[in-house]
């Protein structure tokens, strides 16, 4: 199936790139969505089987594929609305759709890869396709964002490669040369700790560019700002999950060696710094898209704090990235409508949104409640579990510091969102405000509701899948 999927998705991307006819574009995008859904169902029905020797349908991949397939449907719908509203030349439209499909399929294949070099290859392909999306507007600012993204991702991907080289040196001591995760875990007791340490540092640093964590988060923020919002939704949800998969799968290997505590320390420092930096920027930031991107930085910091704390934190971290993907993508989808009303993304020039688009304003309000993890948001459950795991790991001082920072984030985020929703902007001429159909917000409501449902009342299969994903980790 994965073979059919990759060939199918790449040929659809190629066809979208060459095609200029609108009807054919719809048919191709529909075909891709069917293919994506089929892969997800196939992955769920064939758990723990390996195809083409490099792709395994494991529980984590099945969960994330499910997330990706759900987000891809509104993603394509909102891309269509976006491209209809902001007329772009046929050519850049074709490139946009082709890159969108290529990005989604590369991320899916990256989730499924069971070999560190294969994840690495698909991460490279996401850099290529994401840069095409960021450069969609072909202007100076887009070019600046794309250049920074490409350059930092190129350096990060080189770092991951250096890490893989060190890992192979470490593995030579175990008398093996198979870099698949299964073999690494099987040989984890024989890995050379010195090279493994270096490998972990480089691979972790490299994947933070996609994960959106300190130290390589900067490029991602610029990218989410400059990419069209429906593409930014992918960059800030499913692509971050790909970075998480890269770090997490390798973390499982390291966690089974004596280096477990050291790795927790490294991850913990990066995670705390991420929350701290997110707080600093959230207070200052005036650009709405960047504000949402920094909120993603904060959430990934929390996820990694959960991983570093261990215990129930592993479960909470997986739950958190899935729910965060739904919430953050719905906020980004909503942003296109906000931009259509105000033609601006600075908080100073935006406001009183309830007056112009009630359904959209509701999405923003509910999205804010979800993103700051207030009940009944599903993220409340996962964040609560993360804090509990930190408490159980006796990281009380860290926990207090993080809670203080989170309070500041909620204050800063709330202040900006309330301004957008209620306070009229100065000097805004509302005679040309377009009427926006409430139906355009329906997909966001569904995503937010899904996040609530999966957090508060998760189906038994869902819980089982998360438990299976963290099974290989020691307690």
């Amino acid at each position: 199936m994965i073979g059919i999927y990759l060939i199918g998705a790449f040929s659809i991307a190629l066809a979208l790139f060459l095609n200029r006819n609108k009807t054919i574009t719809f048919i191709l995008l529909g075909l891709f969505l069917i293919l994506q859904g089929a892969l997800t169902i196939h992955a769920y029905l064939n758990l723990h089987t390996t195809e083409l020797s490099y792709f395994t349908y494991d529980s984590l991949a099945a969960l994330l594929l499910f997330t990706l397939s759900i987000i891809s449907i509104p993603g394509i719908i909102h891309s269509h609305i976006y491209l209809e509203d902001q007329p772009a030349p046929q050519e850049s439209r074709a490139i946009y759709y082709a890159a969108y499909v290529l990005l989604l399929s590369a991320i899916s294949a990256g989730y499924l890869a069971n070999h560190i070099a294969v994840i690495w290859i698909f991460t490279e392909i996401t850099t290529l396709s994401a840069s095409a999306l960021i450069y969609h507007h072909r202007n100076k600012l887009a070019l600046e964002g794309t250049w920074k993204y490409v350059f930092i991702c190129a350096i990060s991907i080189t770092f991951v490669f250096i890490g893989i080289l060190f890992l192979s040196l470490s593995l030579e001591h175990a008398g093996s040369d198979d870099l698949s995760f299964k073999n690494l875990i099987a040989n984890s007791s024989k890995l050379n700790p010195f090279w493994l340490r270096l490998a972990f540092l480089f691979i972790f640093t490299g994947f933070t560019a996609k994960l959106g964590l300190v130290p390589m988060f900067t490029a991602g923020i610029d990218a989410k700002d400059k990419a069209p919002a429906p593409a930014g939704a992918l960059l800030s949800s499913v692509l971050m999950n790909l970075g998480f998969v890269g770090v997490f799968r390798f973390y499982i290997v390291v966690a089974n060696t004596p280096l477990h505590h050291w790795a927790n320390l490294v991850i913990g420092i990066a995670a705390f710094l991420s929350v701290f930096i997110a707080t600093v920027y959230m207070i200052k930031v005036k650009n709405i898209k960047r504000m949402m991107a920094y909120s993603g930085l904060e959430h990934m910091g929390l996820v990694m704090l959960g991983i570093a704390a261990g215990g129930i934190g592993y479960y909470a971290a997986i739950l958190h990235i899935i729910l965060h993907a739904f919430v953050k993508s719905s906020l980004f989808f909503q942003f296109t409508q906000l931009y259509r009303v105000f033609q601006n993304k600075s908080i100073y020039h935006v406001g009183n949104y309830f007056k112009y688009n009630t359904a959209g304003a509701m999405v923003l309000l509910l999205g804010f409640i979800s993103a700051t993890a207030m009940p009944p948001s599903g993220l409340f459950v996962s964040e609560f579990l993360i804090f509990r795991s930190m408490f159980e790991a006796h990281q009380i001082i860290l926990l207090v510091a993080v809670l203080l920072l989170l309070t500041m984030i909620i204050w800063a985020f709330g202040k900006s969102i309330m301004k957008i929703l209620f306070i009229p902007p100065v000097g805004f001429d509302d005679s040309h405000v377009p009427v926006i159909s409430p139906w355009e917000s329906s997909s966001q409501f569904i995503l937010l509701a899904l996040a609530v449902y999966l957090g508060l009342n998760p189906p038994a299969e869902f819980v089982q899948l998360i438990k299976e994903s963290v099974m290989m980790l020691p307690n």
Binding site: A117, W120, I121, E124, T127, L128, S131, K140, L141, L143, E144, G145, T146, W147, K148, V150, F151, A154, I155, I157, T158, F161, I162, I164, L165, S168, L169, E172, H173, D177, N192, F194, W195, D222, D225, K226, Y281, K284, V285, K286, N287, R290, S346
Partner: protein, 210 residues
């Protein structure tokens, strides 16, 4: 023999630290490509013709001919000044590069591993950090790219150190190199040259939070 070549490689790093003109950088990069080819030729004992052809393509054709020629073309077309305009004086650059090399030698001395030739490790890590240092202290975007290419050369040396056991990794490294360089050079350096006339990182500061 390999040791002599690798030490020459480190000397090229020192030379780059004090070089002033953009064209000198390009010539040194081309020279590094040739050095790498000879090292590969001596290092990999059992080499099949396909692999040899691939490595030849990567080191000689790509690293020493195509990339420097293309960069020279970009320099000329965009009328980029010939000075490299570092933020720090060359003397400081030289000291920092020396410091990097000394630290990596000390680090390598701490390793007890018979499987790895330490000199490969030293050369690889020194060029990695020198490349990063270049990126941090030079003003032009094109010098950032040169810094990136130095890092790539270092990674290539490192992949040779493990290449005897795992030739797949050498090929993967070559793939990375060609892919990333084509992406960076081909698409963006060209575009950036069109949009920003004198390419200087100070112009790339309009993405702000407010």
């Amino acid at each position: 023999m390999i040791d002599v070549l690798l030490i020459t490689f480190i000397i090229t790093l020192f030379y780059m630290a004090i070089a002033n003109r953009m064209l000198t950088y390009l010539k040194v990069l081309a020279f590094q490509g040739v050095l790498l080819f000879v090292v590969v030729f001596l290092q990999l004992q059992e080499i099949n013709p396909v692999n040899l052809a691939l490595i030849l393509l990567e080191t000689i054709v790509f690293k020493s001919v195509a990339v420097p020629l293309f960069m020279a073309y970009v320099l000329k077309r965009n009328n980029i000044t010939r000075e490299s305009e570092p933020f720090l004086p060359n003397f400081v650059s030289l000291i920092i590069t020396t410091f990097i090399v000394v630290v990596t030698i000390l680090l390598a001395n701490g390793i007890n591993d018979t499987r790895l030739d330490k000199i490969f490790f030293v050369v690889a890590l020194s060029s990695l950090f020198t490349g990063l240092y270049f990126i941090a202290t030079r003003r032009k975007i094109i010098t950032h790219v040169i810094g990136y290419l130095i890092i790539e050369n270092g990674v290539f040396v490192l992949s040779l150190a493990v290449g005897n056991e795992m030739p797949m990794l050498v090929n993967l490294g070559i793939m990375l190199d060609i892919f990333a360089s084509v992406l960076i050079l081909g698409i963006f350096l060209n575009k950036i040259g069109d949009v920003f006339k004198d390419i200087d990182v100070n112009q790339l500061s309009s993405l702000k939070d407010y």
